[in-house]
C-alpha cells in the first residue's frame, strides 16, 4: 500500500466539557474515496474540520499529507479542497469573481485562475451563470459552484461535508457523477454523510461513527457482510400492539431482529425462507417485504438507532 495520505491516532476534539470526537483511529490512502458515515452529531464534521486544518486538535495525533496541522496548516490547506456542509460562498461577489478571488487566496497567477475557472464552470455546468450574483442561484447550483471553487487549486484531497444534503434527487445524482469523475482523475475524496445510499455509491472504504467514536470500518460490502446478514425481512403491522406481540415469536425464528418505530426488521441469510417460516408460525403481519441488507442495517445493528436519528 502506498504511503497513507491521512493518518489519525486517538484523535480527539473537545469543546469545553463536551467531547465531539472521542479518540478515533483511521487511515486514508491516496486515490481512494473514503467516507465517514453516521447520524447528525456523530462527530463527522468536527473530524473533517480537523483534517481541513481549520480546527485545532484537542488530543491524539493527526497527519495530513505527512504534515502536522498545528505546525504546517497553511501548507496543507494549499493542497486541499473543501466543500463544507453549509454553503459559504461570497454573496457580495458574482459566480466568476468567487472563483477568481478564491484562486488568489492560493496565490495563483490571474491568467492561470482564469483558465481553470473556465474549465471548472464547464465541469459543473454553470458557464452561463458566470456573471450572476450568488443569491439567485438554486441550492444545487450553489453546491456545484462550491465544488468548482474547491477545485480551483487542483487539490490532491477533496473534503466534502454532507455534499448532497438538501439537494433534489437529480442534483444528487449529478453531483455523484462529477465526484466519480474526479476520483477517476486521481483526486482522493474524503466525505461525510448520513445517507447510506451515498456511502454505498461513492465510497471505497468507510467508517461508521456514532457519538464521537468509530463503531465499524471497511468497504460497504465488507461491513454488510460482517455486521449484518445478507437479507432483511421487513414486517409491518396494522397496530403497534400487534408488533410487540409478534416480536417474541419472530425472535425465535431468526438470528437477529430489530424493532423500529413502524416495522420489525428480521435479519437472515435467506429472506424467502424466513418469511415463509414467519407466515407459517401464524404471525399476522400486514405487509411482508424482503430486501438485501444495507449500511443502514449495519448501523442499526451496531447502535440500535437509525441513521436518521
Amino acid at each position: 500500500m502506498p504511503d497513507p495520505l491521512i493518518v489519525a491516532h486517538a484523535l480527539t476534539k473537545r469543546f469545553g466539557g463536551f467531547v465531539a470526537v472521542d479518540g478515533i483511529d483511521f487511515v486514508i490512502a491516496p486515490g481512494e474515496a473514503f467516507g465517514f458515515l453516521g447520524p447528525n452529531g456523530a462527530g463527522k464534521s468536527s473530524t473533517m474540520r480537523m483534517i481541513g486544518c481549520v480546527s485545532p486538535v484537542s488530543g491524539g495525533t493527526l497527519r495530513v499529507l505527512g504534515m502536522d496541522p498545528a505546525a504546517d496548516g497553511a501548507q496543507i490547506r494549499r493542497r486541499l479542497g473543501v466543500v463544507p456542509q453549509e454553503d459559504n460562498l461570497d454573496t457580495e461577489l458574482t459566480v466568476w469573481d468567487n472563483l477568481m478571488i478564491y484562486g488568489r487566496y492560493f496565490d495563483l497567477p490571474r491568467a492561470e485562475i482564469r483558465r481553470r475557472a473556465e474549465e471548472l464552470l464547464e465541469f459543473v455546468q454553470l458557464s452561463d451563470r458566470r456573471d450572476s450574483r450568488v443569491d439567485p442561484l438554486s441550492g444545487g447550483m450553489k453546491r456545484r459552484l462550491t465544488i468548482a471553487r474547491a477545485l480551483i487549486n487542483q487539490p490532491e484531497v477533496l473534503l466534502l461535508d454532507e455534499p448532497t444534503t438538501g439537494l433534489d434527487p437529480q442534483a444528487r445524482h449529478m453531483l455523484w457523477e462529477r465526484l466519480y469523475r474526479l476520483k477517476q482523475d486521481g483526486v482522493t475524496l474524503v466525505l461525510t454523510t448520513h445517507y447510506m445510499d451515498e456511502a454505498e455509491q461513492l465510497c471505497d472504504r468507510l467508517v461508521i461513527m456514532d457519538g464521537g467514536r468509530i463503531v465499524a470500518e471497511g468497504s460497504p460490502r465488507e461491513l454488510v457482510a460482517t455486521h449484518a446478514t445478507r437479507e432483511v425481512v421487513e414486517l409491518r403491522f396494522a397496530r403497534a400492539a400487534d408488533q410487540s406481540d409478534a416480536l417474541a415469536r419472530v425472535r425465535a425464528l431468526a438470528p437477529r431482529v430489530e424493532a423500529v418505530a413502524d416495522r420489525l426488521l428480521v435479519y437472515t441469510d435467506d429472506g424467502d425462507a424466513t418469511a415463509a417460516a414467519i407466515a407459517g408460525d401464524g404471525v399476522g403481519a400486514a405487509s411482508v417485504f424482503v430486501r438485501r441488507a444495507s449500511l443502514e442495517d449495519v448501523f442499526l445493528i451496531l447502535t440500535g438507532r437509525t441513521l436518521e436519528d
Partner: protein
Amino acid sequence: MNARANLFRVLPPLTQRQRPWRLVERNVLAYRRTWVVFLSGFLEPVLFLLSIGIGVGKLVGKVPFDGHEVDYKMYVAPGLLAAAAMNGSLLDTTFNFFVKFKYSHTYDAILATPLGTGDVATGEVVWALMRGAIYSTAFLVTMLLFGLVASWWAVLVVPVAVLIGFAFAGAGLAATTFMRSWVDFDYVTLALIPLFLFSGTFFPVSQYPAGLQAIIRLTPLYQGVVLERSLVLGAVHPILLVHVVYLGVMGAIGLRVAERRIGRLLQP
C-alpha cells in the same frame, strides 16, 4: 496529476506578508460592484460640513482657537475629518467584520485556504485604513475647495487620518472579539456617539465645566481632532506628538489583544 499542478506546489508558499493583501483584493472586488455605496460613504462628513459648519456657522460667527479667533466652519471641518476617520474605521472592524463572520460565513471559506485568522484580521485592518485614506483625501480636497485649509502642514492630514483609523481599527477589532451577538453592538454605538459629539468636534472643550474638560482631553477622538485641527490651521507645536503617541499606542494594544483572541473567535 498534471505537471503544471506539480509546478505550483513546488513554488514556495505565499509569504506571510502577502497574504493579508488577498483580503484587500477581495474587498476591492466586492466594492467594484457596489461603488455607489462606496461613494456615498464620502457624503456624510461633507453634509455635516455644509449643515453645521456653514449653516450653523453663520449663527456662531467666530470661535477661539490657539490664541486667536477662527471662522466656525474652519474650526469644525478638521473635527469632522477626524470623526469620519474614526467612524469608518470603527464600523469596518466591528459591524462589517461581525456580519461577515457570523452571518455570511464569508471567513469560513477563506480560512480553508492558506490564509489564517491573523491574515484575515490584518487584511481587514489594512482595508479599513485604505478606505479611510481615500475618504479623508476626498474630504481634504473638499475643504480646499471651500477655502478651509490655512496651512501647508495640511499635507500631513491624510497620514494623521490613517493614524486615527489605525487607533480605532485596533480598538474596534479587539472589541469585536468580545461580542457574542447583535445586541452587543449597542455598546459600539454607546461609545461612538458621545465620542463624536463631545470631543471638541463641534465646539471647544472650554465650553465644558473644568472637571469635564480634563476627562474629554483623555478621550481618543479628542487626540485626533486636536491633531487635525492644528495641522489644518497651522498651529503646530511639539506637544502634538503626545497625541500621536496616544493614538499609536491605542492601535497597537488593540491589535495585540485582537490578534490573540481572533483565533478563538473565528475557529473554536
